[in-house]
């Protein structure tokens, strides 16, 4: 299972990075969303995989009766998902505002902070 997941994680990364490398702001934002999934799967896999047994203690027991899926990476991923979602939302709205204000979805044209063809600073004293 870990092998298949490692392979899947690799594909997730390839796709997300490929999208993030584009100049299209929305594609980049979508890439960010996929990146978060890639990372979550990565953490999940790194914590090793046990199928189908959730880490929930049965009503009648005080500890799990069988080997369960590793709960810690799940908790970590939950935190990471929430954080990633917050960032995703922010980025998306930022992209939206940037598009609205700057009038372009091409990051090559978003160059106000570091404008093209800037002049030299004063050469005198």
């Amino acid at each position: 299972m870990e092998t298949a997941l490692s392979f899947t994680v690799a594909i997730f990364f390839v796709v997300s990075i490929y999208l993030m490398l584009s100049k299209h702001i929305i594609r980049i934002v979508i890439g960010v969303a996929i990146l978060s999934n890639a990372v979550n799967l990565l953490i999940f896999t790194a914590g090793r995989v046990v199928r189908e047994v959730p880490p929930i203690i049965p009503e009648e027991a005080m500890t799990p009766l069988t080997a369960t899926a590793n709960p810690l990476p799940q908790a970590l991923i939950l935190t990471a998902i929430v954080i990633a979602f917050s960032f995703f939302a922010f980025l998306l709205v930022l992209a939206y505002r940037a598009y609205q204000t700057l009038g372009t979805d091409n990051t090559d044209d978003m160059r106000l902070a570091e404008p093209k063809g800037e002049g030299l600073p004063p050469l005198g004293y």
Binding site: P54, L78, A89
Partner: protein, 139 residues
């Protein structure tokens, strides 16, 4: 959105979803769920309500500014952590009051208040985002 059908169904759906979200919140300690998921469900409910009946309806419905709710959530969660201060135990130590007040096992405890804080933060923030976006739409 101008559709009678959605506008009619949405309030009921919303209240059902809010109810469900609280259920998920309270059960989180023992079954899948918890403050975050509960909060997301409630926020989804308000989003539907907002799309169907307009942002102002939601704002009136929740009375407080969503971000204020969010702030209250963070405050509650942090205070749940600080609550352990007089007991000579570290920050965020769980403290329980045993009991079974509602027939199913909710135990009053600092982790519960912490989780409620999480719930409020998520409801507040996500609702705020959805409403702000929706409001902008309907300009």
């Amino acid at each position: 959105m101008r559709t009678l059908i959605l506008r009619t169904v949405a309030p009921y759906l919303t209240s059902l979803m809010v109810l469900f979200s609280i259920f998920v919140l309270l059960r989180g300690h023992n079954e899948p769920g918890g403050g975050f998921i509960g909060g997301l469900i409630a926020a989804s409910a308000f989003a539907i309500y907002g799309i169907a009946c307009g942002v102002q309806a939601v704002r009136r419905a929740i009375r407080f500014h969503p971000m204020a709710i969010s702030g209250a959530g963070l405050l509650l969660a942090a205070l749940a952590g600080v609550f352990s201060l007089p007991f000579g135990v570290p920050f965020l130590t769980g403290l329980w009051l045993d009991g079974d007040p509602f027939g199913f096992s909710i135990i009053l405890s600092t982790p519960l208040f912490f989780d409620i804080g999480v719930y409020l933060v998520v409801v507040g923030s996500i609702t705020s985002i959805a409403l702000a976006l929706e409001e902008r739409e309907s300009l």
